[in-house]
């Protein structure tokens, strides 16, 4: 489904590559945890997948398409296949919880009727029905992350990419977020999580890719957090 072929990334200002010769394959319905210290290359790897960064060398394929060779006009359609969750939530500040989620559907050109039926359902799934009309500033960190998850899954993407989704949350909220991600995976959505939260990785107990200085140093089919 996702295939990284000898991908390297060198930023202009750095002598050390952010990613070095990464070859990696991810199958549909997998739940993959990517672990490593800060600066190991986890975020760069995910940014390549959502086409926010271009590799210096190598190619990244989503199904059969080389994503960095997609025409600009096609890029937004590709991004609709991926739901993205960030450590800092990245919600649109002047939109309510409902509007942040419905925005992704509106942008995809979904009809009003679908939006009216799906958004309340997703709000219920992330347990935010009662705060649908709250703005991000009126929500706690955990609630904001749940809105972000709602936004990521509303268009039923093929893949969920989460970059440190529990990084700004207390253990209780972190636990809830992982449970939601597991539930999403149970509905056959591929999930990629970059984290250095040992508890999260051990709780999931699925495939773990360990990175260090831009390289993959371990790839365990079913493992825990080992550094």
């Amino acid at each position: 489904m996702i295939y990284f072929e000898k991908v390297s990334k060198i930023y202009n200002s750095d002598k050390v590559p952010a990613l070095e010769d990464i070859t990696l394959s991810i199958k549909p319905k997998e739940f993959v945890s990517i672990v490593g210290h800060s600066g190991a290359g986890k975020t760069t790897l995910l940014k390549m997948l959502i086409a926010e960064e271009k590799p210096t060398t190598g190619s990244i394929f989503f199904e059969s398409a080389n994503i960095h060779e997609l025409p600009r006009a096609q890029m937004y359609k590709y991004r609709r296949k991926i739901g993205m969750i960030f450590q800092d939530f990245r919600l649109i500040p002047h939109k309510t919880a409902y509007e942040n989620i419905s925005f992704a559907m509106e942008a995809a050109g979904k009809p009003d009727e679908d939006i009216a039926s799906d958004v309340p359902h997703i709000l219920e799934l992330v347990d935010l029905s009662e705060k649908a009309n709250h703005f991000p500033r009126q929500l706690s960190g955990g609630e904001q992350q749940r809105v972000a998850i709602g936004r990521a899954i509303i268009n039923q993407p093929d893949v969920i990419v989460a970059d440190e989704p529990t990084g700004n949350l207390d253990p209780m909220n972190a636990y809830e977020i992982v449970q939601i991600l597991q539930k999403i995976n149970e509905f056959d959505t591929t999930v990629l999580v970059a984290t250095h939260n040992k508890g999260v990785v051990d709780l999931v107990g699925r495939r773990v890719i360990t990175m260090e200085r831009g390289k993959i140093i371990r790839d365990d089919e079913s493992g825990g957090y080992v550094l």
Binding site: R72, Y76, F103, A104, A108, G109
Partner: protein, 308 residues
């Protein structure tokens, strides 16, 4: 573009405008200043144009006839002049009319009237004043007069004098001064307008700069560039049109006050009257400028965040 997409962009742009509160207020305020300067430019141009036209209308060529000129010769001469394509209007003042006008003009000057009475006869000449269709045509009319078309039955000229040469220098100087004032005034106003347009652009750019993270998120959730750009342009247009409406409303009391105070000073040009008579013209320019300013500034400002 689908109607549903446009409706969503419009709704989102309008909500952004309302929810951005103080930022929207600041943008509107800057645009009010810009559009205010543009409206000043319109009034200044009209004022100078009217002054120039008024002065141009005061220019004429007066032909004075000798006291012995027969009325039939003068009428024949007038008929010849009327055939000239450059001539717009001819006004005849007989000797008696000239005397009556002179007396009326000097009604409070007993010394002059007394001197006139002592002359015993009417010393004033009959005259005609010729108004050209265009001020530049006076030279050709004077040239025609100098070819000697006004002859009496016995072949002598019935023209005593033509006053164009004396007036010409003064008129040219005033016309030049008004023209220069018009150019300098409009030039300065244009510089102000340009400066404020740049400030308005910078303000919109700053507003969009503060939304750059939001734009990134929109891209990452799969919004097309057009869908991201749309609401920002709508917000810019709302700010521009709202600023235009505020300017148009503010102009009512301002022109009313200035009009009342300065009509005499500006030689009859009444700002309020001009605004009332040209309301549609001024409103279209100001609203059009607001629309253009808001949409173009937003379009240019957001372009750099939509490259990938």
């Amino acid at each position: 573009m689908k109607w549903i997409t446009f409706r969503r962009m419009f709704s989102s742009g309008a909500k952004n405008f309302v929810r951005s509160g103080i930022v929207s207020f600041a943008t509107v305020l800057i645009m009010v200043v810009t559009l205010g300067i543009i409206s000043m430019l319109i009034f200044l141009s009209a004022l100078l144009q009217q002054t120039l036209t008024a002065i141009e209308q005061k220019v004429d060529v007066s032909v004075y006839f000798v006291t012995t000129a027969a009325p039939s010769d003068i009428v024949a001469f007038q008929n010849k002049l009327k055939q000239l394509p450059q001539v717009a209007q001819i006004t005849y003042t007989s000797r008696n009319d000239a005397l009556s006008q002179f007396r009326a003009r000097h009604a409070n000057d007993q010394l002059t009237l007394q001197a006139l009475n002592e002359l015993g006869s009417n010393p004033l000449d009959a005259s005609i004043s010729i108004l050209a269709k265009n001020p530049s045509q006076y030279d050709s009319i004077v040239k025609f007069l100098n070819t000697g078309p006004a002859l009496s039955a016995n072949g002598t000229s019935i023209i005593d004098r033509i006053n164009y040469a004396q007036n010409k220098t003064v008129i040219n100087r005033i016309t030049f001064a008004i023209g220069a004032t018009q150019k300098i005034g409009i030039g300065i106003a244009l510089i102000f307008a340009l400066a404020s347009i740049i400030i308005a652009f910078a303000t919109v750019r700053l507003v969009i700069y503060t939304s750059r993270d939001e734009i990134t998120v929109m891209r990452l959730v799969g919004a097309s560039n057009a869908y991201i750009r749309g609401p920002f342009i709508i917000t810019g247009v709302i700010a521009g049109v709202m600023a235009a409406l505020i300017v148009l409303l503010l102009l009512i009391p301002i022109t009313w006050y200035i009009g009342g105070e300065t009509t005499l000073w500006f030689g009859g040009f009444n700002f309020f009257l001009y605004y009332r008579q040209h309301a549609v013209y001024i409103a279209s320019i100001i609203i059009g400028a607001g629309f253009f300013l808001g949409s173009t500034a937003s379009f240019i400002a957001i372009r750099r965040y939509l490259t990938a």
